[in-house]
């Protein structure tokens, strides 16, 4: 573990000047963006060298029709360190036509189901995931239900009528 007294944001900015951006401490939270290609490298560093041992949450946001967002999706990592009692929220911008991110399942095993859920609901793939199947919906389901352009009440029954 490197210098725990230094802010994690300062550590990240020093270690990954080109891979991270917009690192800020705001409203009691620590935020930042991480380049999509460097997700695994940065997260491994946080886990192994900074003792961020818990992946609290891994989710995704669909920014369809948001003019200020160049990329449609953002994958959100909410990471917590027990020893430092600190939390950092990292986001990776993901384009719709290249919705593939490196899997974090080899870093935190808990990422396994989170990533399956994100694949199921948003259609973002994770390379290196051991078992990237739908988690919530069934395999016959077409599309990804939490994408903003999926009609909210479009049902795809396995049995029974469409209604």
């Amino acid at each position: 573990m490197t210098n725990a007294a230094a802010s994690i944001l300062e550590q990240l900015a020093a270690k990954f000047p080109s891979e991270t951006s917009e690192l800020k401490a705001e409203r009691g939270q620590q935020w930042g963006y991480v380049a999509k290609g460097a997700v695994k490298k940065v997260l491994t560093y946080l886990k192994n060298d900074c003792d961020f041992n818990i992946l609290m949450d891994l989710t995704c946001v669909d920014y369809l029709h948001w003019e200020e967002k160049a990329e449609r999706f953002e994958v959100v990592y909410n990471i917590y360190s027990m020893s430092r009692n600190e939390r950092i929220i990292l986001r990776a911008k993901v384009a719709e036509d290249d919705a593939v991110v490196e899997s974090a399942a080899s870093i935190w095993p808990g990422a396994n189901w989170f990533e399956r859920e994100v694949w199921d609901m948003f259609g973002v793939r994770f390379t290196g995931h051991p078992n990237l199947k739908r988690l919530i919906m069934y395999e016959e389901f077409q599309g990804h239900a939490l994408r903003k352009d999926y009609p909210y009440s479009k049902r795809q029954p396995l049995i029974g009528p469409k209604n």
Binding site: I136, M137, S153, R155, P157, P161
Partner: protein
């Protein structure tokens, strides 16, 4: 010996000395319906929060055993009434259908709670909009969740239905 009540559909026993009563007459239809309605073995198919209300109804305070329905069977092959309690998703729907198909005739289905009746407020991609799109339903008990009194009311209506069906229940 106390008051003897004749099964529904039979003539009232007026002027009969019940102390000497060693036989009574009825129709097979009425007797079958009467015995079935007081031996409702349920299969509780519980998926959601309505289950809490089902438990409250089943336990001693409201006591569905008063209606002969106090004996849940956790095998559909031994059950008479399928209690569908809680939201049914499209992923769950084939399981519900299979459980229903495994039950022996005569069988009845109770839609417990508004989700099973119509889908409730879950007008979304995942929820079956009423289990009657998949399996036939005998009694609808709406409510989110229904009060135990409402459940007992539904149960008594189901008893009336079973009584009236009599032997026809196998063929309905």
């Amino acid at each position: 010996m106390g008051q003897v009540t004749a099964p529904q559909g039979t003539a009232p026993m007026t002027g009969v000395n019940v102390d000497k009563l060693d036989f009574m007459t009825t129709t097979l239809d009425a007797a079958i319906g009467w015995s079935r309605k007081f031996s409702i073995f349920q299969y509780p198919f519980i998926t959601a929060c309505c289950g809490m209300e089902y438990m409250a109804t089943a336990c001693s305070h409201y006591d569905v055993d008063r209606f002969g329905a106090g004996f849940p069977r956790f095998s559909p092959r031994q059950a008479d009434v399928l209690f569908v309690v809680g939201t049914i998703s499209h992923k769950m729907a084939p399981v519900l259908k299979e459980v229903y198909d495994q039950m022996c005739d005569p069988k009845w289905v109770v839609a417990f709670g508004v989700c099973t009746c119509t889908g409730g407020f879950y007008d979304n991609y995942a929820t079956v909009q009423g289990i009657d799109t998949i399996i036939p339903v005998d009694i609808y008990i709406p409510g989110c969740p229904p009060r135990p009194e409402n459940v007992l009311d539904g149960l008594m209506k189901l008893q009336d239905k079973i009584q009236k069906q009599g032997l026809r229940a196998e063929h309905d």
